[in-house]
């Protein structure tokens, strides 16, 4: 395999060529040229439109239409049908040195399309046969290929759907019997093809796949790697199509054996087919899935579950299974089908609809009637369009045309178009209606039943003889649900004036929505409350995007309607003349300019999806026109540039990219887009700079797309899930899966509407309230609710949460005082604090509610017209209050605990970083006095800076602690001066930061200890401080501690074993100074008695030399005794310590 790759490179074969080879898995040529390694490409996606009959005439395609995995050498090969030979002609010959330009060969080769299976279902009986052929690479169910093609562009004048249904069924039966005749063994229907072909059909039991039986593991790994790289670099036209193929390989049921299946495949030889067994298929698939894990992890929860539960995957890569399982458990991407609410009419607004807006009474009354006819037609369609045999044109066509003929005046047309467009948006875009109407199918039954029951469903499914999927991974553009009414209305009306007015109106609305200044997320705002705004933005974005897609789809439909035909022009000359003719027709909407603007403004995520909808209705000539060709080229470049693995600042968000890749990939599969466009247009991705260098924050870098929106816009991604689900349904009963959590299966959403709950009724009433009010009322109320809700969260954060943080700080302080300086484990501290404070978060909801109630009505009143009736006003106010409260409370109840936690955590770490609790915790932090001119010595200076003369605290301390030179020392005056400076510094708070203050406090305590132990080296003889001087300095320190320090002072250090040990070292025995200091500390309230007692008590635990413990015990006793006798401390001192008393006398 590596040899192949080398040769590929040597032959200057581009990666694209490689991927296409890989993607299509060449069929080996007949052994006509022994030695030459020939890989012919099979037309993986046969151009259905060109050869509608092929699918039926060639039974091979039935089983495995698109990707053939090996060709039979030997007699079978020689009998290859003409189709096969033509394939060979097109084929690329790899490894043959004589072929110099494989790229060119490849380029000429048309990338083939997949066949779209026509589902034999009632749903299809009503929609028109699709003229577009894209479909799963391996057909799922035998013989559901399209039978006959309708030649009319949109199925106008078709026989009623039921007839085609009958036809399809008949053909299905015929085809089945044909198959049975052709192949006596039903499991082996394709004897002509390669030795073994993966088949997804057949009997229930799937062949087991075994990792140990994989042939040429190395080769498969390399191919998987190349293939995955191509996918990752967007060198494949459609990402999800490739994923679909890979999942098909994963779920291959059995290999269909050819007659010469006993052929010995030689290892690592290009002559052997890539997949020789089911084990190979699964191995390859799992390899690719491992590489594509990132994309997989963004799929919906259901798909992840099915993937993680897939026993083959579990068997081949437990590691991947583990990651998928983790992704599943962490995923919140639930994509839920929603029900379409029944139609609501566009309300009558006097401002735009009353007599004053019409040229004459007649026009006014005509329009009045037309409105009623329109809804009458709509109601009839709602009632009857699902009835078998009902036909839109037959049932309603004449009534619609009669109505349209009355629209004589241009003004009436514009009125009607406005009504039509509003009704379209209302019915097809409403958030509730979006999902199901876009999906255009009944709620996914497979999904609702859950995997366990799928086995039972399978028999039923077989009888229905239709795949559960609706249109494969690349369905053609359709008009699902209500959209069908509007499409058929346009067709039946067949009114040039109406179409023109409609295009004008759609274009205007598209430009309006596309230019809508969607509020942008402020990147700097990392606070949690912006989440509130985000959710609103995401919802708004989704609504705008879905509207745009709907409008653009209809614009595309109407604009290209006159040019649509089932096939491209037959001859080159004809084509040229048509192109010349069409080139001078200006585009209905300047989409190129809008696309460029969108890219420049980093709003591709909004512009591209609707543009794709518009272009999906283009006719065959459109891509040949210079104008549109350039649009397609830009889109292709954009597609190539959207590399998913590139993440970084200014890059587009992952899901935004995924949406664009999905829609663009889908567009490239539309039959009217030239087949070779993707491969011919070797655009320079480098030249496409506009998107990569994000100078400003645009919509693209905001995570506006979520899975719900992705699956709504691209329902075909759901095919992946269906594929996996159908595997579960087919595989044996042991597919319980690891996820044992049983979700109750309900069928409520399938059934009729339940009676609304009182809460639901209130919501409905609120919705209904706006219906007949001017639109500005709704906008106002929503705006007020949105802002007040957001402000409410900010307010709660500034008040309640800030209070809680302050509480946390003081709690922390208390806790640390109780626990001593060391405190405890920060994480543990945080837990304790949070457990105490988080319950207070419950107040947030009440406060939020109160805030919204207080603030909203005034805002609404200020913004609505003075003349608004009182009842309307008060309802508007209460709805605004309700919405704001709902928004704020939803956010608060979900996030308040996390918010408090985060803020408290920040406070704790701030405090701990400052090596102690915030001074604020001890009370109000004092600032400088008013007169302070901030001339005090800088704290840093005091601590250590000045080295010239020993005048900083640090210097004094270091001198005292030593080692020092004999001539070093300080003067008592100097010490006093130093303490004075310290006082100044502490009083001017300008430059003092908590750590500096804490350091100063610590130093001052150390200094006191040195003073007590008489350890300060004095310059002048007798090199010791006088007792009086020492006391004076101690008093200064006490005063500093009492008056000037605002942070905590580690006074307990005075009685730390180390500092007390100084006394023991000197044996000087200056107990009186210590006693004095302790007494003063208690007196000034700096330490309390208990604290000192505790410290003294703990000193006994230290092993002391000689009789020091006894002296210590005496000190303790004295300290305790003195406290009870207020006056005679000194005397007591002297009495107890006669020997030291003499020293005192001497000095």
């Amino acid at each position: 395999m590596s040899a192949v790759l080398e040769s590929l490179l040597r032959e200057e074969v581009s990666v694209v060529a490689a991927v296409r080879w890989v993607a299509r898995f060449g069929v080996k040529a007949p052994p006509a040229r022994p030695g030459a390694t020939t890989l012919s490409r099979c037309p993986g996606r046969p151009r259905g439109a060109g050869s509608p009959g092929r699918a039926l005439s060639d039974p091979n395609l039935e089983e495995f239409p698109s990707r053939r995995l090996g060709a039979p050498p030997g007699p079978q090969g020689e009998k290859q049908p003409a189709a096969g030979r033509s394939r060979l002609k097109e084929g690329v010959v790899f490894g043959d040195r004589n072929v110099r330009k494989p790229v060119a060969t490849l380029s000429r080769t048309k990338p083939s399309r997949r066949i779209n299976p026509t589902p034999v279902s009632e749903e299809r009986s009503l929609s028109k046969p699709k003229t577009c052929f894209t479909s799963p690479p391996i057909s799922c169910v035998p013989s559901s290929q399209p039978s006959a093609l309708d030649t009319s562009p949109w199925g106008l004048g078709l026989p009623p759907g039921c007839r085609s249904l009958q036809e399809e069924r008949a053909m299905l039966r015929k085809e089945r019997s044909k198959q049975l005749q052709q192949s006596p063994t039903p499991t082996c229907p394709t004897p002509e093809l390669g030795p073994l072909i993966p088949s997804r059909t057949g009997s229930l039991a799937a062949e087991a796949a075994d990792p140990a039986r994989v042939s040429s593991r190395k080769r498969l790994e390399v191919v998987a790697l190349v293939y995955s790289s191509c996918i990752a670099e967007n060198l494949v036209p459609n990402l999800f199509l490739e994923l679909f193929f890979v999942l098909q390989l994963l779920t291959v049921r059995r290999m269909v054996a050819a007659k010469d299946s006993d052929l010995e495949p030689s290892q690592d030889s290009l002559e052997s087919p890539l997949f020789q067994s089911i084990h190979d298929c699964v191995f390859f698939a799992v390899q690719v899935l491992e590489h594509q894990f990132q994309v997989l992890s963004y799929l919906d929860k259901g798909t992840l579950k099915l993937l993680a539960e897939n026993e083959r995957l579990m068997c081949f890569s437990p590691a991947l299974q583990g990651r998928l399982r983790a992704a599943y458990e962490g995923s919140v991407a639930k994509v839920s089908p929603t029900m379409t609410p029944s139609a609501q009419a566009v309300s009558f607004q006097p401002e735009t609809d009353n007599r004053a807006n019409f040229s004459s009474d007649r026009a006014f009354h005509t329009f009045k009637k037309q409105r009623d006819v329109f809804y009458e037609v709509l109601r009839e369609w709602e009632d009857r369009h699902e009835e078998p045999g009902w036909d839109f044109e037959k049932g309603l066509g004449s009534r619609i045309r009669a109505m349209m003929s009355q629209l004589s005046a241009a003004c009436s047309h514009s009125h009607f178009v406005r009504l039509f467009q509003k009704q379209l948006l209302q019915m097809c875009q409403s958030p509730g209606g979006a999902a199901s109407s876009v999906l255009g199918e009944a709620p996914d039954v497979l999904n609702m039943l859950g995997a366990d029951k799928l086995g039972r469903l399978r028999r039923l499914q077989e009888r229905l003889a239709a795949p559960p999927s609706s249109g494969g991974p690349c369905p053609p553009p359709t008009f699902p649900g209500c959209q069908g009414f509007f499409k058929d209305f346009i067709l039946s009306a067949s009114s040039f004036q109406f179409n023109q007015h409609l295009m004008d109106s759609l274009s205007l609305k598209i430009q309006e929505l596309n230019g809508l200044p969607l509020p942008q997320h402020e990147p700097g705002d990392e606070d949690g409350e912006s989440d509130v705004d985000w959710q609103g933005e995401r919802r708004q974005f989704a609504a705008v995007l879905l509207s745009l897609r709907l409008l653009a789809k209809f614009l595309g439909f109407v604009a290209f309607l006159p040019y649509r035909g089932p096939e491209p022009p037959p001859s080159r000359e004809l084509q040229d003349s048509i192109v010349a003719l069409r080139s001078q027709v200006p585009p209905v909407l300047d989409v190129r300019a809008l696309l460029q603007q969108g890219l420049q403004a980093h709003r591709a995520v909004l512009t591209v999806p609707w543009l794709v909808e518009f272009l999906s209705f283009a006719d065959h000539i459109v891509p040949l026109l210079d104008y549109y060709r350039s649009v397609f080229t830009v889109l292709l470049r954009l597609y190539r540039s959207l590399v998913l693995s590139q993440e970084g600042e200014g890059e587009m968000c992952f899901l935004n990219k995924l949406l664009l890749l999905a829609v663009l990939g889908w567009l490239f599969q539309i039959p009217t887009v030239p087949e070779d466009f993707f491969f011919l247009e070797e655009c320079q991705v480098d030249a496409f700079e506009v998107d990569t260098a994000a100078s400003e924050h645009g919509l693209d870098s905001v995570p506006v797309v979520d899975q719900q929106l992705l699956y709504t816009c691209c329902p075909y991604i759901g095919e992946l899930r269906k594929l996996l689900a159908s595997w579960v349904s087919g595989s044996s009963g042991r597919s319980g899966g690891f996820v044992r959590k049983i979700t109750p299966t309900t069928t409520t959403s399938l059934g009729a509407q339940l009676p609304p709950s009182s809460q639901g009724l209130q919501a409905q009433l609120a919705q209904a309230f706006f219906h007949n009010q001017p639109p500005s009322l709704r906008r106002t109320v929503e705006f007020v609710a949105e802002r007040i809700g957001s402000n409410c969260v900010k307010h709660i954060k500034a008040t309640l949460v800030a209070d809680l943080v302050r509480q946390a700080e003081s709690l922390l302080q208390e806790y640390r005082v109780a626990q001593g300086q060391e405190g405890g484990d920060p994480a543990q501290l945080l837990e304790i604090l949070c457990s105490q404070l988080c319950p207070s978060g419950a107040h947030a909801l009440a406060q939020g509610r109160e805030f919204c109630q207080r603030k909203s009505p005034g805002a609404v009143r200020a913004l609505l017209p003075e003349e608004t009736p009182a009842a309307v006003l008060s309802s508007a106010e209460s709805i605004a209050v309700g919405l704001a409260t709902e928004k704020a409370c939803a956010w608060l109840s979900a996030n308040i605990t996390a918010l408090i936690r985060r803020e408290v955590k920040a406070a704790v770490s701030r405090t701990l970083r400052a090596q102690g609790p915030e001074p604020a915790a001890r009370g109000e932090r004092r600032g400088c006095s008013r007169a302070c001119e901030h001339h005090a010595p800088l704290p840093s200076h005091l601590i250590s800076e000045i080295k010239i003369s020993p005048c900083s605290l640090q210097d004094v301390l270091s001198l005292a602690v030593g080692p020092r030179d004999p001539d070093e020392g300080v003067s008592p005056e100097h010490l006093e001066q130093l303490l004075g400076q310290l006082r100044q510094t502490l009083r001017c708070r300008q430059f003092l930061c908590p750590p500096a203050e804490q350091h100063l406090a610590k130093c001052s305590v150390e200094l006191a200890s040195l003073l007590v132990a008489d350890q300060i080296p004095i310059l002048a003889a007798p090199h010791r401080l006088e007792r009086g001087q020492a006391r004076r300095l101690l008093l200064m320190l006490l005063s500093l501690w009492k008056e000037d320090f605002q942070g905590p002072i580690p006074l307990q250090l005075l009685l730390s074993p180390r500092n007390v040990g100084l006394l023991a070292d000197t044996r000087w025995g200056l107990w009186d100074l210590l006693l004095f200091l302790l007494r003063e500390l208690v007196e000034k309230g700096l330490m309390d008695r208990m604290e000192i007692e505790t410290c003294l008590g703990s000193l006994h635990e230290t092993p002391w030399p000689g009789d020091f413990p006894e002296e210590l015990a005496t000190l303790s006793r004295l300290f305790l005794a003195e406290l009870h006798l207020p006056e005679p401390q000194l005397r007591a001192c002297e009495l107890v310590q006669p020997s030291r008393g003499t020293v005192l006398a001497q000095s």
Partner: protein, 281 residues
């Protein structure tokens, strides 16, 4: 007062070929004692109108007119005080008021030698004393007061009943503190279709949202309901969304089938009204 289709059919069956007189009505009341008089009258009136519509043309052929006029003249010549015209109407199964109109029209044509204008006839029917011939005036008057389905008197009564119920409904709305726009206000604003009341703030009745209320002081039978749906109710729905119709004299139960679609029928002012809560937050 809400009748099933079967109940309604039973009543309607009894009304075939019954003259629109007090006596008929009394009999009907005895036959269906559980139904209110107003409901029976309304049904009777509607059924009778259907009957008249079916037979209208045959009474308006020139031969018929001549024959009626001749019989009238013959009758009053015999006995001017006898209820000639009324008995003639009952005999030919035509509404007395309409019979009076035919004869009056014919009389005026003969007297003035030109067909009389509609307004003149209407005016004389409203006030028979204007009729130059005293005998005819009495005869016409007798017809009008004895006709409980047609005639200016009945029209007037119907109008009054309609108005009363609108006022009743208005009072109930005010009492319930539901604010609304009435027909006149809507017309002033330029609405092209105007229900009796549009609620400024919608409410829910029996779980259904309603935006407007239409009062109908009649019984809702199939015929009238379908006409109303086409001309009024759906038009209201098309503009204002779902709404409520009150048929004060009841309706056929089976007609209340558009609730999900947005047309709710009631025979009285609803009791189960849910309003938008003003203190939800």
């Amino acid at each position: 007062m809400i009748l099933t289709k079967a109940q309604y059919d039973e009543i309607a069956q009894c009304l075939i070929s019954v003259p629109p007189t007090r006596q008929s009505l009394r009999k009907l009341k005895q036959r269906f004692p559980s139904q209110s008089q107003a409901t029976l009258l309304s049904i009777f009136s509607q059924e009778y109108q259907k009957h008249i519509k079916r037979t209208h043309s045959k009474h308006h052929t020139s031969e018929a007119i001549e024959s009626y006029y001749q019989r009238y003249l013959d009758g009053v010549v015999k006995n001017g005080a006898a209820p000639v015209l009324l008995e003639l109407a009952n005999e030919v199964e035509y509404a007395p008021s309409l019979m009076a109109r035919i004869v009056l029209e014919r009389y005026l044509q003969e007297r003035d030698e030109t067909p009389p204008s509609k307004s003149v006839i209407n005016s004389m029917l409203r006030d028979p004393s204007q009729i130059p011939d005293g005998v005819l005036a009495n005869q016409v008057y007798q017809c009008i007061v004895n006709d409980c389905c047609y005639g200016p008197l009945v029209d007037c009564i119907k109008h009054a009943i309609g108005h009363e119920h609108e006022v009743l409904l208005r009072d109930l709305l005010l009492e319930k503190n539901l604010s609304f726009l009435d027909e006149d206000q809507l017309r002033a604003k330029g609405y092209d279709k105007t229900p009796d009341f549009i609620l400024q703030v919608p409410v829910a009745v029996e779980g259904h949202i309603i935006h407007w209320i239409e009062s109908k002081a009649s019984f809702g039978d199939e015929c009238s309901h379908h006409a109303y749906l086409h001309d009024q109710f759906w038009s209201y729905w098309n503009r204002f969304g779902p709404g409520l119709v009150i048929y004060w004299y009841g309706f056929i139960q089976e007609l209340d089938c558009n609730r999900e679609r947005g047309i709710l029928l009631k025979a009285c002012f609803p009791t189960d009204i849910v309003t938008l809560c003003h203190s939800t937050a």
